[in-house]
């Protein structure tokens, strides 16, 4: 028997990272009666929040700062297509959430007087980023996870791979998950579902993202009829290690690091003269690519790179503020940043787009909520500012949890179980789609590599109509070839070949939505830069791209971005 008896909770939460755990705690605190199933394909402390390094932004210190300033920085950073009402709500809640984390034990770095310390991040006009050395995400995730252990009503389902949402009568009723240990399909029913599964950086070959970031939640919602928003906006982080794509945090520039080209110039003076190294990520990534194309970058075995120089900061400061950068550079490229500059190049980092949600985390599907990188509220628009995402996980995670709890209290999606046939059908689909043995079938690794390659070529830092079109066509072919995959592993217990196949299936959907969005947005804005359509087109594209899934590929609609107090202006730094 491949199915097991279902379990029932009030809220089913998919994903155990920063947003997910925050949502779970918010939900059980909002209502003393309800239980939350926290379902994750990994143990929660393995979630990718753990890799975030630099910090989390919020106006905790009001000297020289204000909500309006944080809001404006964020909106300008977004190239003016974030929803300004959402941004305002976000910045107002941010300090509370950061302090809440402090009260839960997060070891924020401190000033000598005992207050939390702050640093200035790219695109932020004042030091408002809290940090825990350069392991902020790690400390936040572990503080959240360890805090969650005290709530008995948060019931963890670790290493359960969610394959689909259970939707019945127009509302979400739960999820189906493969229990990796037994290999059986477990239906988990609930009266609301929150998705916090993070982004989809793995559709690209060269990314800071962990292997688990395969866009599962986005794809599941997308398949359940929920639109994806602004998927064409994918952020390249300017400073990743060549070869591995390991993230060298923006904090290294916040602490005073410089970028140099081959000729020894701090080349950013030609691109973002007022902010220099603390310019926003999209502009810095583009600047580096331009240097490469102009032949002013170094040539290495993993391609071109420029230098991130920290040597002038001194050993003491590096050890105190950037110990992880030192550890990573020493270990993975054999360079001690105290003595030598670090080779870096832009690397795929973050999906601005995601599941279409409102400020409360609610999606158009009744009972379905989403928060964190998987969601698009949107506060990040066309380009996210560094250190807004960890805060976003907290603020919108908490709101999604709270509102899901409220929804459940008001009755929620009908609690009578959805028909059993849904889970049975899901298992049949899994067997049909992934476990069939095709003669000379395709290896999933081959398709995955070709997909990643197509995305890098078509949807990189710079794009143009032809390359995007080529990528899209390639993805459609890959989609077809995917129908003939043949996986090696047909065992039940911990079948990672099967889960990798499902992840690839998810990623193909996501990649196609990204490419389609990129193709149709004939302008350049934030992280989406088209060589064939230079410059912003506010008349036509001050809008969100809304992608609906159809059998023939994504169907796009456009929705105006919410502008309240800040009119779009030219984005100069």
């Amino acid at each position: 028997m491949s199915l097991t008896d279902p379990v029932v909770h009030d809220i089913v939460l998919v994903g155990g990272g920063g947003a997910g755990i925050r949502a779970a705690i918010a939900a059980v605190e909002a209502d003393p009666k309800l239980t939350v199933a926290m379902v994750s394909k990994v143990y929660p402390m393995r979630s990718h929040t753990v890799s975030a390094e630099g910090g989390a932004a919020g106006v905790v210190k009001t000297e020289n700062d204000s909500f309006d300033l944080h809001a404006f920085d964020t909106i300008k950073g977004s190239d003016f297509i974030s929803d300004q009402d959402a941004v305002e709500a976000f910045v107002k809640e941010a300090p509370r959430e950061l302090l809440q984390l402090e009260h839960w034990g997060c070891p924020w770095s401190r000033d000598p007087d005992g207050r939390v310390a702050t640093r200035t991040f790219g695109g932020m006009s004042t030091p408002r980023t809290l940090f825990a050395a350069d392991k902020t995400g790690f400390h936040m995730l572990h503080a959240l996870f360890q805090t969650s252990l005290k709530y008995d009503r948060i019931v963890r389902y670790d290493e359960q791979f969610v394959t689909s949402l259970i939707v019945h009568d127009g509302a979400v009723r739960g999820v189906t998950a493969i229990d990796l240990h037994s290999g059986k399909l477990l239906p988990i029913y609930g009266r609301a579902v929150i998705i916090c599964t993070g982004g989809a950086g793995k559709v690209f070959p060269f990314t800071t993202n962990a292997s688990i970031k395969t866009g599962d939640g986005m794809a599941m919602a997308y398949r359940a009829g929920v639109p994806l928003k602004d998927m064409e906006f994918v952020q390249y982080h300017p400073t990743g290690l060549p070869g591995t794509g390991i993230l060298i945090t923006e904090a290294s520039r916040a602490e005073g690091g410089y970028l140099f080209n081959k000729e020894g110039d701090r080349f950013l003076s030609n691109y973002v003269p007022t902010k220099m190294e603390l310019g926003p990520r999209d502009l810095l990534s583009r600047a580096i690519i331009e240097e490469m194309e102009a032949g002013r970058a170094f040539e290495g075995k993993h391609g071109q790179y420029v230098h991130l120089d920290l040597t002038h900061l001194g050993e003491k400061k590096i050890n105190e503020r950037l110990p992880f950068v030192r550890e990573l550079a020493t270990k993975y490229v054999g360079i001690d940043p105290v003595k030598q500059p670090i080779p870096i190049r832009p690397v795929v980092h973050y999906c601005m787009g995601g599941i279409d949600t409102d400020i409360n985390g609610a999606t158009p599907l009744r009972g379905l909520y989403a928060a964190g990188e998987v969601a698009c509220v949107s506060i990040n628009g066309a380009n996210r500012l560094g250190s807004n995402s960890l805060t976003e996980c907290l603020v919108f995670g908490a709101w999604a949890g709270k509102h899901a709890a409220q929804y459940v209290r008001q009755g929620g999606s009908d609690s009578s179980p959805a028909p059993e046939s849904i889970a049975r059908d899901e298992w049949a689909r899994i067997e049909r789609t992934y476990l069939q043995d095709h003669k000379n079938g395709e290896r999933i690794a081959t398709i995955r590599h070709e997909m990643q390659d197509a995305m890098e070529k078509g949807c990189g830092v710079y794009r143009n109509g032809e390359t995007i079109q080529a990528a899209r066509d390639k993805l459609l072919t890959l989609r077809e070839r995917y129908g003939r995959i043949s996986i090696d592993d047909r065992n039940r217990v911990f079948n990672t070949d099967l889960t990798a196949a499902i992840e690839l299936d998810f990623m193909l959907d996501i990649a196609l939505a990204m490419a389609e969005g990129a193709l149709r947005r004939t302008e350049s804005r934030g992280a989406h830069q088209r060589r064939d359509h230079k410059g912003r087109n506010d008349q036509q594209f001050l809008t969100h791209t809304i992608a609906h899934r159809t059998e023939d590929g994504p169907r796009l609609e456009y929705r105006p971005a919410t502008i309240t107090r800040w009119q779009p202006e030219e984005r100069k730094y």
Binding site: E102, P107, D111, A445, F494
Partner: protein, 248 residues
């Protein structure tokens, strides 16, 4: 990758067909940048999709990819093939039940972690509106090292005490308890001591010290355990001399 080739002998165990683990040897290309995890990924992608292991961040912080490499517990994403002469043996982390191939069952640790109450129990409650609890850099430094644990389980794999006595709370769990005990904001040492100072806690440790040797994040759980022993004894002496009002 270059043409250099390396032999990896990997533990295989499929509970559906095997009664005990066996080994299988693969050959992989490598260069100076190749880590053991890359080699496993190469095998899984190109040679044998049934090979099973955990991994995620590939930058030494998520804690998923711990395995015994040539008998030593290692994060495989930070263990380079270039550092080994000859063939390499990759086994699941020692001292844990093997679920499949290189995947171990760590639910025992998850249970134990919860028992040491690894969350902040403030000395005095403060509402969020009152702002943060003040903590000087020096007070932060007192526990910072012990907050660096990534739960990778390497210390458990290195600990002979845990190998023999599975009821032992173990290095990481105690170190995390110690982390909160040493936090200037926390006031629940006595409460945690009920488990940390119990027979399954620090007193089972004979201070072999290997946990600290293999720790990839320099947490030094051995130090945490010995300090908890000392604190426990000092507390007992204090409460013996001053029977009442000796919470710390």
């Amino acid at each position: 990758m270059s043409d250099k080739m390396k032999k990896l002998t990997v533990t295989r165990y499929n509970p559906e067909t095997d009664s005990a683990p066996r080994t299988q040897t693969y050959e992989v290309p490598y260069d100076d940048d190749t880590v053991v995890l890359d080699a496993l990924n190469h095998i899984k992608d190109q040679q044998d999709g049934t090979l099973t292991y955990r991994w995620s961040c590939r930058m030494g912080v998520c804690g998923s990819c711990g395995m015994n490499v040539n008998g030593v517990p290692k994060l495989t994403c930070a263990t380079f093939l270039r550092d080994f002469e000859g063939d390499i043996t990759v086994e699941p982390l020692a001292n844990f039940p093997i679920m499949r191939d290189l995947v171990v069952n760590m639910s025992d640790f998850m249970e134990k972690l919860k028992r040491v109450k690894p969350w902040l129990i403030p000395k005095e409650e403060k509402s969020i509106d009152e702002g943060e609890y003040l903590q000087t850099p020096r007070q932060l430094e007192a526990y910072r090292q012990f907050s660096m644990c990534i739960n990778c389980m390497l210390c458990y794999a290195a600990c002979p005490v845990y190998g023999k006595h599975q009821d032992f709370l173990g290095p990481a769990a105690i170190a995390l308890g110690h982390r909160y005990n040493e936090d200037s904001r926390d006031g629940a040492r006595a409460e945690r001591n009920k488990i940390i100072g119990s027979g399954e806690g620090v007193w089972e440790c004979t201070f072999v010290g290997e946990c600290s040797e293999v720790c990839p994040k320099h947490v030094d759980p051995a130090a945490a355990i010995q300090r908890e022993k000392l604190a426990n004894v000092l507390d007992k002496i204090k409460s013996f001399i001053l029977p009442r009002g000796s919470s710390r």
